[in-house]
């Protein structure tokens, strides 16, 4: 009986430990397969073609610059929406709203985070972009701006929930100290609470922007899918195409192992590296601030 029990325990412990390491295995596997299918591009497409401004795979033009600028302009636009609205809402929920209001707002914002992006893209096509076209008097409503605004909305819940957590963990004594010195609540928010939660708020912003870069369906549906170089702010009002949308739109139609196939994996590899960089930096910021907090406490 006893030895049977230890045997069982031994096996279960091993299985649990193996599961614990599964996340590392999956990240490594994903990177490996992206490299395996994406790196051949560098041998098949001359670098001057790859980093040119013409994406027209049918005639073997694999210039990824328009896709990169497309992703960039949509993401910058999304950040300009998500940062003020995300941080503003986080401050409102954490510092200003009465308790009952907070209990309503938090789940509601989380709900937005759970709405399928294809539903938002669908409304983007049918409702938002026609409205934007009339409102701004544009030839088409499917533009980088439409994508930016929609993506901004999709990134907001990430920014709000991380930033709100950060504001919430600022010790109450900090605020009480400021009030005791005669600061108003508004002054306390700007000069004490927000600076104290700085690193957490920054993490929220980075994760929100990371989410915006990686968003696929909504962006593909509303940005008009035109792979043209977007270099000026004026490009906001014309159709673009992002890296994610290109993969989603074209991968279904390519033969596996073709140059086009490898190039789409190459783009996926770039997206993976971007998200890796964003997340490593974001968690390093958190880690550093934890160290600082520990120093202050000791």
């Amino acid at each position: 009986m006893k030895s049977e029990l230890t045997w069982q325990e031994f096996i279960i412990t091993r299985a649990i430990k193996a599961s614990g390491y599964s996340a590392i295995v999956f990240v490594a596997l994903i990177f490996f397969f992206l490299l395996r299918e994406g790196l051949p591009t560098l041998g098949e497409v001359p670098l001057t073609t790859l980093f040119s401004d013409r994406w027209y795979p049918i005639e073997d033009y694999f210039g990824i610059l328009p896709l990169i600028t497309g992703s960039l302009i949509v993401t910058v636009g999304a950040a300009l929406v998500a940062i003020p609205f995300g941080i503003g809402t986080a401050i409102y929920i954490a510092e200003i709203a009465p308790r009952w209001m907070r209990e309503i707002l938090k789940p509601l914002v989380e709900l937005l985070g759970g709405l399928p992006s294809v539903v938002l893209g669908f409304l983007g096509i049918l409702v938002f972009s026609p409205w934007l076209r009339v409102f701004l008097d544009l030839p088409t409503g499917l533009t980088a701006l439409t994508g930016s605004l929609l993506l901004g909305g999709i990134a907001v819940p990430t920014v709000v929930s991380v930033a709100e957590d950060a504001l919430d963990t600022v010790p109450r004594a900090y605020r009480e100290g400021a009030w005791a010195l005669g600061a108003t609540r508004w002054q306390t928010i700007w000069r004490v609470t927000l600076p104290a939660a700085r690193s957490g708020v920054l993490t929220g912003v980075m994760l929100g922007v990371g989410r915006a870069i990686g968003e696929t369906m909504a962006v593909m549906m509303v940005t008009g899918n035109a792979p043209v170089l977007a270099l000026t702010p004026g490009s906001l009002f014309s159709p673009v195409r992002t890296m994610t949308a290109t993969i989603a739109a074209e991968m279904g139609e390519v033969a596996s192992g073709s140059v086009h196939y490898h190039t789409l994996f190459f783009i996926g590899m770039m997206l993976f590296l971007i998200s890796l960089a964003v997340n490593v930096v974001a968690s390093a910021v958190v880690f550093q601030s934890k160290k600082r907090a520990e120093r202050i406490l000791s």
Partner: protein, 281 residues
């Protein structure tokens, strides 16, 4: 009194920002309910699409999303909970543990379409599962894993240390303590995380685009090696790829998807609040 004026201005500004964030969320949900409900009928929910998807119902897409959600749960729930148990109950704060945490954060941040590429490379082509429910479920599982691991770990860590100490002092082994004491206490929290993770998987389109989603199938899938229709992909198809698609059916499909997702969200919220009310610690 100037600073009190600026406080009042500031507060109203932030209130407006919060209103601008929240009102569109409610607006989206209400609008889809209003526009979509006329399309909902018994026939819409129980028959396959006809006439190039412009008539009939969406049954295969509903069933497909159901299959994919179950398939995702089969792979991601045991693995995710086991990983959470490891992180919360077994691991010390070593360099390896920090690497695991970093890997989980990274998994959570990888774009969904990149998961699709990975699923295509590993499951569809390398392991030769083909474009199938199996490939799509496995792809969605890996995407869901970080959500389940982090919420389950949080739930496990919330169980007071004293529970474990007492159980061990009564002669229980570590695994017995986890199995009989810690897991049951953390169950509502774990369940909430699992449902929220599966809710995300059910609504995703990009990861199944090249791993298991079918444009149109007249029959229901017969095995896990068949491709399947799915609600989010079906909505994408009928709103962008099919010309002259009746708008009623589009909104109806959006509504069914929304109800699927919101229903799961509601279940999670109810479990969480009931567990909070009943908790003794």
């Amino acid at each position: 009194m100037n600073r009190h004026l600026s406080q009042r201005l500031g507060f109203s500004l932030l209130t407006m920002v919060a209103v601008f964030t929240v009102v569109p969320i409610i607006g989206v949900i209400v609008y889809i309910f209003i526009q979509g409900s006329p399309a909902i009928s018994w026939e819409f929910l129980t028959v396959a699409p006809r006439a190039g998807m412009r008539e009939g119902g969406i049954l295969p897409a509903i069933i497909g999303t159901f299959y994919l959600t179950i398939g995702t749960a089969i792979f991601s729930v045991p693995l995710g909970i086991a990983a959470a148990v490891y992180l919360s109950e077994y691991s010390a704060d070593t360099r390896w543990t920090r690497l695991i945490r970093l890997a989980i954060i990274n998994l959570a941040g990888i774009p969904s379409v990149v998961y699709g590429l990975f699923g295509l490379g590993l499951f569809v082509l390398f392991l030769n599962f083909g474009t199938s429910i199996l490939s799509a479920s496995l792809t969605l599982s890996i995407m869901t894993l970080p959500v389940i691991i982090s919420t389950a770990e949080e739930a496990l860590r919330a169980v007071p240390q004293a529970f474990r100490t007492v159980s061990i002092s009564l002669g229980a082994t570590r695994w017995q303590t986890i199995r009989r004491i810690v897991l049951p206490q953390a169950l509502p929290g774990i369940l909430t995380g699992v449902i929220l993770g599966l809710e995300r998987a059910a609504g995703e389109t990009a990861p199944i685009l090249f791993t298991g989603a079918a444009f149109f199938l007249p029959r229901l899938p017969g095995s896990v090696f068949d491709a399947t229709m799915a609600l989010p992909y079906h909505l994408f198809v009928i709103s962008t790829q099919v010309p002259e698609m009746p708008i009623r059916i589009q909104y109806g499909t959006a509504l069914v998807l929304l109800v699927f997702v919101l229903g799961m969200n509601l279940i999670a919220t109810v479990i969480r609040s009931r567990a909070r009310a009943r908790r003794q610690w």
